[in-house]
Each structure stands twice: as structure tokens, then as C-alpha cells.
Amino acid sequence: MPEAGHLHRGVTRRHITIVGASLAGLRAAESLRRQDYDGPITLIGDEPHAPYDRPPLSKQFLAGDWDEDRLALTKPEKLADHDLTFRLGTRATAFDLASRRLTLDDGSDLEVDGLLIATGARCRTLPGTEDLDGVFVLRGLDDSLAIRRAFDAGPRRVVVVGAGFIGAEVAATARESGLEVTLVEALPQPLGRVLGDEMGAVCAAVHREHGVDLRVGVGVEAIEGDGRVERVRLSDGSVIDADVVVVGIGVIPNTEWLEGSGLEIDNGVVCDATCLAAPGVTAAGDVARWPNQRFGEVMRVEHWDNAVEQGGHAARRLLQADEDAEPFTPVPWFWSDQYDRKLQLAGRIRPDDDMQIVTGSVEERRFAALYGREGRLVGVLGFNRPRHVMQYKTLIEQGVSYDEALAADL
């Protein structure tokens, strides 16, 4: 885009307010500075901590290998350069689109000009476990610290409920800390909904090889104990004695504070294809739902890289005239580290897609598999094949056919 045209047609903002001071929010603020926006930026975040990175919370930090300093999303010296105003430990409680007023839990009220919503998501919990000690979810730094402490206390057994990515990582970290672990999944395979049963079975095998007691196709009936958890009762009648339970059964977008705001909320903040939710209001990260035109699908993506990319896109959008706005059309991508395996998935796959291994083998636990639908390449899964995943991700972006991708020599 020619610079002069941009200046000419761009929107001038007096100030920009970002609600949610974590990955999407902070990267949005940084990208505003890179766009040469030099007006005031205020970040409002309800956590007391300076912005930190979540992926290590189920991996290196939970294992005790990293300390808190290493979690900083941006090093303090660099953060200072950006001239951002942080209001940490402060929650946004309401917003009114018509008057553009934002209400905070410290009783203050502010008028916003540009607003970027990045309030992320929180963990679903198991009803009836609120008052039991020893039952955890994992989303924030304090959760990870609490689980670490419970691991250090030498529990007889850890039960992880839900073999999604977070649950699988917690199980792996607990095993590597020498703990006895039972991983309970209601579906026939861990990650089956994402990867399909065949690849889910590979994940199951990896956990069993590492000594995890994996129970699939069973639900949790009850988590029992007197003040603190003592056992987990499963739907097949079995009972597992446990003194630590980590529940990883998905997340809920943080949108309650926007009820009655005039914005459309439906499993996230509903945006248009350019991440705009209303004039001068955008959303990014785990909380945002938008139509991704590349896949012809309305999506809400709960991945690290999406929060970074969409944060940047939603920030730029606040400075753009409508006619200059571009749709946000990423190929979603994430990684998950379990034991010494790096699993990566790019694209949008469904359990009934065509699937073929193109390099390596399942037996070696080192391979890349391609997924096709209606003749198109729609996804690539890698086990310890990062280079291949990225190269095939580029092919997905280029819209190549499944056959072409299978024939490509990468």
C-alpha cells in the first residue's frame, strides 16, 4: 500500500484502548507502534502479572525447569520503549457501544475511541468440584504454580480429565516428573475430534509407551473426597484413587462483560472478515470469531500464533478506512510438545478428510501427514517434522490441490 495513500485515507485515532493484556492484546499494541501510531495506548488486564506466555505453563514452567522471568512476553526494557499505559489487576465490567463508555471494576469509567477486545478465554470446570482441594484447571500462571506445588508434594496419583492438548501436555509433564498418571478421555481416542481416530491412536500409543494409564471412551461420574479430592469415579464403574486432579475440558470465551454492549456475542465476539466488530471496535485472539474466507468457515481459533497474527491485524484495522481493510485469512497453525515429540498441525482438518503420510513413518514417530478434502489440500500434521509442516502450510496458503501436494517433493 502506498504510504501517502495510507496516511490520506487512514483513520486518525485519538487513543486506543485494549482490553485483555496478554498475548493478543500486547502484540496488538506493539504492532500499533510499528505502524507508527504514536497516540496513547491503554491496556487493561485483570491479571496482576505483567503479560506472560502461556504455552510453557503446561510444559517447561510446570516441569519446574523455567522460572517466572522466562515467561515474560516482552522483556521489561523493551516494553518500556513502547510507551504503553498498563492498568493491570483491573477488570472491564461493561461497555456501551452507543456512548463508547467502558466501565472498570475499580469504579472508573472511560470513553474509548478505538477499542480492541482481547479478553481470551477461561477454562471450563467440572460442576461440583469448586470446594474440593486438589482439583485444578490450567490457564494462568497461578494455576500452573499451584499444580506444580501439588506435584512437588508427591501425590500417589494424578488424574488428568480430558486428553485435549492441555490435558495431554500436563499428563506428559507429570510423567516426566516421575508421577503416576491416569488420563481420562470420553472420546474413543485422545485428540480424536481434531486429528481423526487413526492419528488419535498414535497419540494414545505415545502416552501408553510413556507409562500413562490412558482410559478412553469413559466419562467422569464424580470427583469425590472430604474437603480434598480422594478418588475419581468413572462412568464404567471403575474408581481411581487420586490426590491431584487436573481438568482440561476446553475453554469458554470471556465475553460476559460485553453483554448488553450492543456488540454481537455468539461463542465469542462476532467480527466481520476483517476482524471488525463495530465501527472502531475490533477483536483478536481466543475471544474473536470471524469468517475466514480462505476456508469459507466462521472460526474462533485458540492457538498462540493466531493471537499474535490476529492481534496485529485487528490493530491495523483500527487505523484503516473501510475501503482499505483486508480480510483476515490465516491458515491456523499450532504446536504441542509432549515428551520428546513436537506435534504440529496446520490447516483445518476434519476426522473424515482423506489422509496420507508423505514422509517418515508412524512407527518411527516421526512423520508428516497430509489431509485433503474435495481435492484440496486442507491440512498437514507433523510429528517431529517442523520443516515439512511449514512447507506444506505454504502450499495450503497457495491453494494447491491435494494431488499436487502429494506429488510435491519437499
Binding site: S31, D305, V308, Q344, P386, M390, Q391, K393
Partner: protein
């Protein structure tokens, strides 16, 4: 402009290679190689994107 990679942090997930294949390459040995340590100013934007998008914050730019 000089590219600095902290190889203790890098986990070879190749996102930088996808953004700037002329600067970064993850080879079959799973290690990251910097192909051009001192790229021209015209690559600054791409490199800044690599810095932001590297999940391990392993890349920095020395002026």
C-alpha cells in the same frame, strides 16, 4: 542489521522459515540455519515479523 538467534531457545518449529525463507532454513537434521546473517534494510519488516511470531522469542535484531 544483524540477525541474532538464541539457539538455546530455538525449538526449530520453522515459523521464521515460512515468513522469510531467504533468511532462515530448518534442515532435515531439525536445526535452524541462518542463511543470511546481515540482510539489507528491505528485509527489516519481514524480520520484525519473525521476531514477533517466533513462539520461543529466540530471534532478535542487532542494529
Amino acid at each position: 542489521m544483524k540477525i541474532v538467534v538464541d539457539f538455546d531457545l530455538c525449538e526449530s518449529n520453522a515459523i521464521c522459515m515460512q515468513i522469510a525463507p531467504d533468511l532462515f532454513e530448518v534442515r532435515d537434521d531439525d536445526f535452524l540455519y541462518v542463511l543470511n546473517e546481515e540482510p539489507g534494510e528491505d528485509r527489516r519488516e519481514a524480520l520484525e515479523e519473525c521476531v514477533q511470531r517466533c513462539p520461543k522469542q529466540a530471534i532478535s535484531i542487532a542494529e
